[in-house]
């Protein structure tokens, strides 16, 4: 009954979303506040209904109710509880329900916290959200219903893809979706504003917190996904330019651009057309990502199930929303007046620079992702666009942008002073060059480019610190005063600086691990040792073990420093019994920001070593690698701090004033 109630709730959610799609729009057109207000309970109800539905599905998973086809196909009674739960979204149907849950979650947030928005804007935003919700609810109910039942029910499920049986999976998709889907709000704001014909500085202020929230979640989600791939896939890499990764990275790049251009629009009412276009494009890229992943166009770990009708359906949604939005944009863009003027060298100019490079980078990734697909569908020729393409194109685009980042916040609005900004950055630049030289000195034989990369990373970090120091007047006034000024800085300034600092930390990690990583592949017999990053790694032998739903061969290693044992490491090859699928569990030892990474290959079965427990071992020494993810955490923290800025909630006519206005006639 619970399962069926879940099914029913999902359908009622569709009915509610349809009401929310229509009534508030009519209300906004006619200026009927009552009809506009329908959006509010509708959004909350949709969220609760989808939540109920998601809960019912989770209940079916937890109790291993194999009369639900989705559970039968993706779960197993022997699976640990946490993976039974994460299994809910570890498959196509369930993950689409999660997608919708997050969509309606954002609608409910707007309904609850959108008190500062004008009534028509809020009604239209919620209606546009409901259009998206309805489309995806139709998609789920018509092509991917997770509540389809089987009678009689099988006695055992067919297990979850073991690669997806990982704690990373439990957190990664929800976070990623929060970001991905969060940009739907920006999209809805853009469409609502276009329908209203009002796009001004206030609109930018209202849309910014939502952009920030989505951006923060997406940053955390991508980072988590990258770390998950790093330690779960056992390939030793942290970013593969895999189409699915790109699908999440493109909205991030566009969203970052949007975040910056909305800033210009809020301050100066410039870049209006551009900001609206970006808001549309960012979510379009999210939709495109959903299409690529869900349609089965791509074959990868993420494509749980492919079915042509699903692909066509999502393509239809894609065309409808992106096409519709761009048409509306084309219709209205001409009527938008351009805003404040500015010199090329100014804060606005810097942000335009940022936007140009970020969108170029997005386009680069888009081409690299779509071109092979197009080519294959048109000519049948299979090519793979791998890291070489992206390293050659994406890298050079990002480089000038990264160099320019510290300058941006130091430039004044309207008319900036580049030389002045450069002078203020002398110290940061000097320190970073020193750091680069130090890298050159300590890592003998390090390529000059790597040293420059390190310097660049430090430049970003010191640049961000310089910005904060200048704003709090450090060195010009007493420490106490500058502390007071620092504490009084707007949160968004603090958050921005922190995000830039995090970017620098990530760059440091990327440069460090790319330039100084060592990798060796060798056959090791028990007792044999190898050197990596100043540590001695001893292979102690293999041992079979049994987990709840897998069997594994664990390779034991001991890490030694100067002959003294420091730590033990285990790396394993697992076989998940129900699906007969092997996976590799990497052994990772973290030392400071560096990591030693051990992954097992196949046992040696030919030659004299056969049967002696000899196995192929891949050993990586990855200096500074964790900085990559620490950096993203700092960036996300910057987003959260910025989000706590009081000013982002401004806009609601204060209660007292409204109350007075209502009372006056009575007197």
């Amino acid at each position: 009954m619970i399962v069926e109630l879940g099914h029913y709730a999902l359908i009622v959610a569709l009915a509610t979303a349809l009401v929310q799609s229509v009534v508030p729009v009519i209300g906004a057109r006619r200026g009927d506040l009552a009809m506009m207000n329908v959006a509010h309970p509708a959004a909350i109800a949709s969220f609760l209904l989808v939540l109920l539905s998601f809960g019912a599905l989770t209940y079916a998973y937890v109790t291993s109710d194999f009369s639900v086809q989705n559970v039968y196909e993706n779960s197993h009674s022997l699976k640990p509880l946490i993976f039974k739960i994460s299994g809910v979204w570890g498959n196509h149907e369930g993950s689409m329900v999660l997608w919708i849950l997050i969509l309606v979650f954002f609608s409910a947030l707007v309904a609850t916290f959108g008190g500062n928005l004008p009534a028509t804007l809020r009604a239209n935003v919620l209606a546009v959200q409901a259009w998206i919700t309805s489309a995806f609810l139709f998609f789920v109910l018509l092509t991917s219903n997770p509540f389809a039942r089987i009678a009689p029910a099988p006695m055992e499920g067919r297990d979850l893809n073991p690669i997806l049986q990982d704690i990373g999976l439990a957190i990664h998709p929800p976070l990623l979706y929060l970001g991905y889907v969060g940009f739907s709000i920006c999209f809805s704001f853009a469409i609502a504003a276009l329908m209203d014909g009002r796009i001004d500085a206030a609109w930018a202020r209202w849309v910014r917190p939502w952009t920030l929230a989505a951006w923060t979640f997406l940053t955390a989600g991508i980072s988590m996904g990258s770390y998950w791939a790093y330690y779960e896939l056992g390939w030793g890499g942290w970013w593969f330019w895999d189409p699915v990764e790109n699908a999440s990275f493109m909205p991030w790049l566009a969203g970052t651009a949007l975040l910056h251009s909305a800033l210009v629009m809020e301050k100066r009412e410039a870049l209006r057309i551009w900001t609206v276009l970006l808001a549309i494009l960012t979510f379009s890229l999210s939709l495109l990502g959903t299409f690529l992943v869900r349609s089965g166009v791509l074959t990868s770990v993420h494509t749980f199930a492919s079915d042509p009708t699903r692909g066509v359906f999502i393509l239809g949604i894609l065309v409808l929303f992106i096409g519709g939005a761009l048409s509306l944009f084309a219709l209205r863009a001409a009527s938008l007046k351009s805003g404040g003027l500015f010199q090329p060298i100014s804060r606005e100019g810097a942000l335009v620079f940022n936007n140009l490079f970020l969108t170029t980078a997005t386009a680069t990734v888009l081409i690299g992702t779509l071109y092979p697909l197009l080519l294959e569908s048109l000519t049948g020729e299979k090519i793979s666009v791998g890291p070489p393409f992206f390293n050659l194109t994406f890298g050079p685009v990002m480089l000038p942008l990264l160099l320019a980042v510290p300058f941006g916040p130091l430039l004044a609005w309207k008319r900036g002073d580049l030389i002045g900004a450069a002078q203020r950055l002398y110290m940061a630049a000097g320190l970073s060059l020193l750091a680069g030289l130090a890298a050159l000195y300590f890592a003998t034989g390090a390529p000059v480019l790597a040293a420059l990369g390190i310097a660049l990373g430090f430049f970003l970090v010191f640049g961000a610190l310089t910005d904060l120091a200048l704003r709090s007047g450090l060195g010009k006034t007493s420490l106490a005063v500058s502390w007071k000024r620092f504490a009084g800085l707007p949160r968004s300034t603090l958050g921005g600086a922190l995000a830039h600092l995090g970017l620098g930390v990530s760059v440091l990690g990327i440069v460090g691990v790319t330039a100084f990583e060592t990798e060796q592949v060798r056959e090791m017999s028990p007792g044999e040792v190898t050197e990596a990053g100043g540590y001695t790694l001893r292979f102690d032998g293999m041992e079979p073990a049994v987990g709840p739903n897998y069997t594994e061969d664990v390779g034991h290693f001991t890490v030694l420093v100067d002959g003294e044992p420091l730590a033990r490491m285990d790396s394993a090859k697992r076989l998940y019994t129900a699906r007969r699928m092997p996976t590799t569990e990497a052994g990772i030892l973290t030392r400071g920001v560096n990591q030693l990474y051990v992954s097992l290959g196949d046992p040696v079965e030919t030659g004299e070593a056969a049967g002696s427990g000899t196995i192929v071992v891949r050993v990586w020494w990855k200096p500074m690698v964790t900085l990559i993810w620490y950096g993203t955490i700092i960036m996300a923290a910057g987003g959260i701090i910025s989000l706590s800025d009081r000013r982002l909630r401004v806009g609601a006519p204060s209660r007292s004033r409204r109350a007075r206005a209502a009372m006056e006639p009575a007197e």
Partner: protein, 400 residues
């Protein structure tokens, strides 16, 4: 019942929640106020920045002027505030909500849902009621047993042909390999292993499979399954003369009522006609032995037939495959008309029609079957049970 009560409550609560705003008389709020708030906040921000020395006075003046312009514009707009309205549109919306929400919800749910089906958490199903204990259940138990005792060769031996018949070829391959590793090779295991490879390859007899069959024959020269596949291998190689010879040898050594004889005879007939070598392969009458056989094959090798045919059928084009299946089903139908005293045959026929989507024909078959086997007989009950499982409506009682 409980479900419908809860569903009704859910629907009612949602509908009322959507109706509430439409019923309320709402206060008037001027539309421009929101922007005014934002812009005045921007003004105070400029003041803060200039007091803190972050921007100089001239810049601050510029910014103030700019924001003031926006403020003016917003003020002008706020005159066109939202007025309270009531009227027809609101009434239409109310009626729309009242009608649409329950109608959409019920309509869609009744087509897609399974309202009668209870939850079936595994824990509460641990001891399945005496109704059929189901092959899945047995397999699951065997799998659980083997997960704990992976060295139980007999378990693998039992499971291997079952996997094969279910089309789980990878599992079958593994099970045969395990059985051979633990219990040692036997003709049966070798030929079963070979058959798995053939089935997994869609009917093609690979070199590895051929070696397996040959090993089987070395252990037991009379093993009919191995003999059959080795002959088929010859057909696939285009060596029709030798293939014909091999089939004829097999026919001689087999009892005349062996379940594979029909296939063998057909192959002999085809080869006899000296058809082109490649064309002959797909002409094997694939599902016939299974449909025609009135009893489960008793010889252990008899289980070979279905999966092999399935593989061969799978390698055929869709239209041809369907045509062949329809032909076979119709011949079964005709035979049952002549000799209706075959409960298994009726069940197969009902199942086939149901798979083919010909529900009326399945219905008809059930009616005729019930004429041969009364409802209260054991077979009659089994027929009715199958019918309900397949979703075939039983004929009204007076048919008896």
């Amino acid at each position: 019942m409980m479900f419908w009560v809860l569903a009704a409550i859910l629907t009612a609560v949602v509908t009322i929640a959507l109706l509430l705003p439409l019923a309320r008389r709402v206060p008037v709020v001027a539309g421009g106020d929101h922007d005014v708030e934002v812009y005045s906040d921007q003004l105070s921000e400029v003041d803060r920045d200039s007091n803190a020395g972050l921007i100089d006075e001239a810049e601050a003046e510029y910014a103030r002027a700019e924001i003031a312009r926006r403020l003016l514009r917003a003020d002008r707009r706020s005159d066109a505030g939202i007025e309270e309205r009531s009227g027809r549109m609101r009434r239409v919306a109310q009626v729309g909500v009242i009608v649409a929400v329950p109608a959409i919800a019920m309509g869609a749910y009744l087509t897609a849902g399974s309202p009668g089906l209870p939850d079936q958490p595994l824990a509460s199903r641990a001891a399945p009621p005496s109704e059929r204990s189901g092959p899945e259940m047995l397999i699951a138990q065997a799998e659980a047993h083997l997960a704990d005792n992976p060295d139980d060769g007999r378990g693998w031996d039992v499971l291997a042909p079952i996997y094969l018949r279910m089309g789980r070829f990878d599992d079958a391959e593994m099970a045969y390999a395990n059985a051979m590793r633990i219990l040692g090779p036997s003709a049966e295991r070798h030929s079963g292993y070979g058959e798995t490879l053939v089935a997994a390859a869609g009917g093609v007899i690979s070199e590895e499979a051929r070696i397996a069959f040959q090993s089987a024959r070395e252990l037991e020269p009379d093993e009919p399954k191995a003999a059959f596949y080795l002959a088929m291998a010859l057909v696939q190689e285009g060596r029709n003369e030798r293939a014909l010879q091999a089939f004829e040898d097999l026919a001689e050594t087999s009892p005349p009522d062996a379940p594979w004889m029909e296939v063998v005879d057909a192959q002999i007939a085809t080869l006899d006609r000296e058809r082109s070598a490649t064309g002959s392969l797909t002409l094997a009458p694939l599902e016939l032995p299974n449909l025609a056989g009135s009893q489960e094959p008793s010889a252990p090798s008899g289980s070979s037939a279905p999966s092999d045919e399935a593989a061969a059928i799978q390698s055929m084009p869709e239209s041809e495959r369907r045509e062949m299946i329809v032909g076979m089903v119709e011949s079964l139908d005709a035979r049952l008309r002549e000799n209706p005293d075959n409960a298994d045959g009726w069940m197969r026929l009902m199942r086939s029609y149901s798979v083919l989507g010909r529900d009326d024909a399945a219905n008809d078959a059930l009616t005729r079957a019930l004429e041969a086997f009364p409802r209260d007989s054991e077979q009659g009950a089994a027929l009715l049970a199958l019918a309900s499982e397949l979703g075939i409506d039983a004929p009204a009682e007076e048919a008896q």
